[in-house]
Symmetry: C2
């Protein structure tokens, strides 16, 4: 067999594999959307039930604001980007969710601070002293404006964005966190990550806002890059404000799924900036490095948490396998491959996708399980909960589905920045809130 023929056959095989994944991911997205449309809509108050059991039954009617905002965003985004999701019931549910948020999310209007969780009818139950509810609120409002053209959604999005930026860069006192003399001024990577994502969200096809937030985007990227520590050998979740490693468990804490998620945010940013050096660095430090250290050599799957010194983490769930780091990894590797054409990245996508579809998918009732033990057994049978909604699974499949199709290895038709930007979003960060005490 000639060398040319073998190369041609290899490319053909790769093309078929990618095509098969594209179809699989597309079917899965339809299946997931059907699950949420059937079970999660609150026809009485608007918004979504997200505490759904294995078969979709509502086991709690609390409304977690992160998940409300994400579901509104996802419905609008699918409506806007995919012909087959341009269905009136999707738009109506998204608008009802958006109106629920407008009416109820803020704890003490006109103050901007949003609740973390609301009762079914919209009364605040708990407030986090962070920016994340507000970030998901902003994403929902901006995407609602994009599909409806109604200006009040965009006004709400931009005002909230400006408030968030004020809290992060100027004065955090409005968040209500006490300043304690023993608490180091630490930066969780989630903060610049979320902000970078919002910059991308608001700036899409909007020159004015893209210009307004350009400096902020660069600042976010620079802050995320500060989390590469130890001579480039580790991505740490928390660093000091001037980019130094912090002492103790806080400083050594690693979250491979978060690093991979930051990776594709940064990659998208680097592509848009046309910065090939940054692109190569991000693939190396935020895709390959966390994958190598975070992939369980014994049972497959990504660990939830790790310690940079290889010590035992103190989080009880550190060795569990959660759905969302795997969704983030799939997006990251596919985007990395689409950008670079490096088949090693495509093969990592296959490795993660095969594990993910085999372990998390529920063939019986639809949707995915979210929480497996280290060995891969399902520990929680819920399909949605305080931190798991339609988002993580839907985003993973949408992101992958969108970019898997047109990119055989070494093809010139790599994922364009425009296409890549549809893989937007931020991690569900499946952290749980404290029990009542």
């Amino acid at each position: 067999m000639s060398g040319g023929l073998r190369v041609w056959q290899d490319m053909e095989k790769e093309r078929e594999t990618l095509q098969a994944w594209k179809e699989r991911v597309g079917q899965e997205l339809d299946r997931v959307m059907a699950f949420w449309m059937e079970h999660s809509h609150d026809q009485e108050h608007g918004g979504f039930f997200t505490c759904l059991g294995r078969d979709g039954r509502v086991y709690d009617d609390l409304k977690y604001v992160w998940l409300q905002g994400r579901q509104v965003w996802m419905y609008c985004h699918l409506y806007r980007k995919f012909e087959r999701f341009r269905r009136p019931e999707l738009l109506e549910s998204a608008k009802a969710g958006g109106e629920f948020l407008l009416r109820s999310a803020r704890v003490a209007p006109p103050g901007k601070k949003c609740a973390f969780v609301l009762t079914r009818d919209g009364r605040p139950v708990k407030v986090q002293r962070t920016i994340f509810s507000e970030c998901f609120y902003t994403m929902a409002m901006n995407e609602l404006w994009r599909v409806t053209g109604e200006a009040h959604y965009q006004i709400e999005a931009v005002e909230m964005m400006d408030q968030i930026v004020h809290w992060v860069r100027e004065d955090p006192s409005g968040l209500g966190r006490p300043q304690l003399p023993g608490a180091p001024a630490s930066e969780p990577m989630a903060v610049p990550m979320m902000l970078l994502n919002l910059v991308e969200q608001l700036g899409e096809s909007d020159e004015e806002l893209a210009g307004k937030y350009a400096e902020l985007g660069d600042w976010c990227a620079q802050r995320i890059l500060q989390h590469v520590q130890r001579d480039g050998q580790a991505v740490l979740e928390n660093v000091s404000e001037d980019g130094e490693e912090l002492p103790g468990c806080l400083g050594r804490h690693q979250n491979p799924g978060h690093a991979l998620e930051a990776g594709w945010f940064l990659l998208r940013h680097a592509i848009q900036k046309g910065d090939p050096e940054l692109r190569a660095y991000v693939v190396d430090k935020f895709l390959l490095l966390p994958f190598r250290s975070g992939w369980d050599p014994d049972h497959g799957g990504l660990f939830y948490f790790q310690d940079a010194d290889g010590l035992c983490p103190t989080q009880l769930e550190w060795a569990m396998k959660l759905w969302w780091p795997h969704s983030e990894a799939m997006i990251a590797f596919l985007m990395g491959y689409s950008d670079s054409g490096d088949p090693a990245l495509l093969h990592l996508f296959y490795q993660v996708a095969e594990y993910t579809f085999r372990q998390f998918r529920d063939p019986e009732y639809g949707e995915w399980f979210g929480y497996l033990n280290r060995e891969g057994r399902v520990v929680l049978t819920i399909k949605g909960g305080p931190f798991k909604g339609e988002w993580g699974t839907g985003r993973g499949r949408r992101g992958s589905g969108h970019s898997a199709a047109p990119d055989p290895p070494n093809s010139p038709s790599r994922l364009s920045p425009q296409a890549a930007s549809t893989c937007r979003g931020v991690s569900p960060c499946a952290r749980r809130c404290l029990a009542p005490y």
Copy 2:
């Protein structure tokens, strides 16, 4: 073989089994104390390192106030109650720990609110909006007074106790929790449990304080009993302030280890009150009921969390096996047996003790592992962390050790209220604090 001979032989065998457990527990207590004395003392600042790896190495020098208070209490208590622990180095370390707390625990003296975690040198890192740091502080101070006779410790204990009671029964605003319109006025069982335990602590051999807090003790018992719901078929962790079941996951939440712990607090209270009806009720509802629903029929061990409707809990660690519920169960069953002479309770003690010693004990480096997966495999190799210190293991073994000896079935020498009261303490409640966001 005559019936009389068989009964005698059975009793003899039981006596030998109990004696063997007594020796095993005593040896284990010595081994655990050796581990903490070797690895945990901070000679420079006083207090204790509690973040200890499998071999005792310090992996973080933060000082969690719950664990500081507990270790001071435990050292003093062993010093006071057991001849072989009446060693100067134990008392010196306890005093250094007490002085560290006096100097550093309160966030803004003269205000009473204590930090949840401090830096090694005593600067506050995090504050919980609950009463628990203050409760462990009170226990430490009272026990220090009992061994040293130094009045300032007791003044501190009583002042803090009065502040806690004020927060719980009169005005919680000093704890800093916002009142939100959607948050139900719920009572976690931990609050009356902790208070009942403090009533026992302060009232021991102290007629004046026992009298002062008698009504409070009855109130606590009544509040704990309100957590028996569903026609006596379930102990629920959270109920409304007037004792009704709450909606959703919060209302259905169960913690079998907590119920068993509340059981032995209530049993001790009922014994002291001379209330045989309450004693029988407590054994039925707080010992047997949680054990029956909470014991894993497939792999043994107590589940960490459950849902009263048998739904899947939302906590990622719900199916894990933690050391402390097993310590509490051992104390509860032994106390129940000592009080009632019912051999069924003794056999439940054996069942739990056999699982516990087989699964949690580390024969290589000493001390116990704290966190196993459902199947019993060690997930966290740490010996101490933010919620696991010397206390849970030490208390379980001390409590069991103290009462295992003198109580063959149907023996008149049942555990006296005085002896039972040495099994004092409260659950380590291995809840983790939120990650930085």
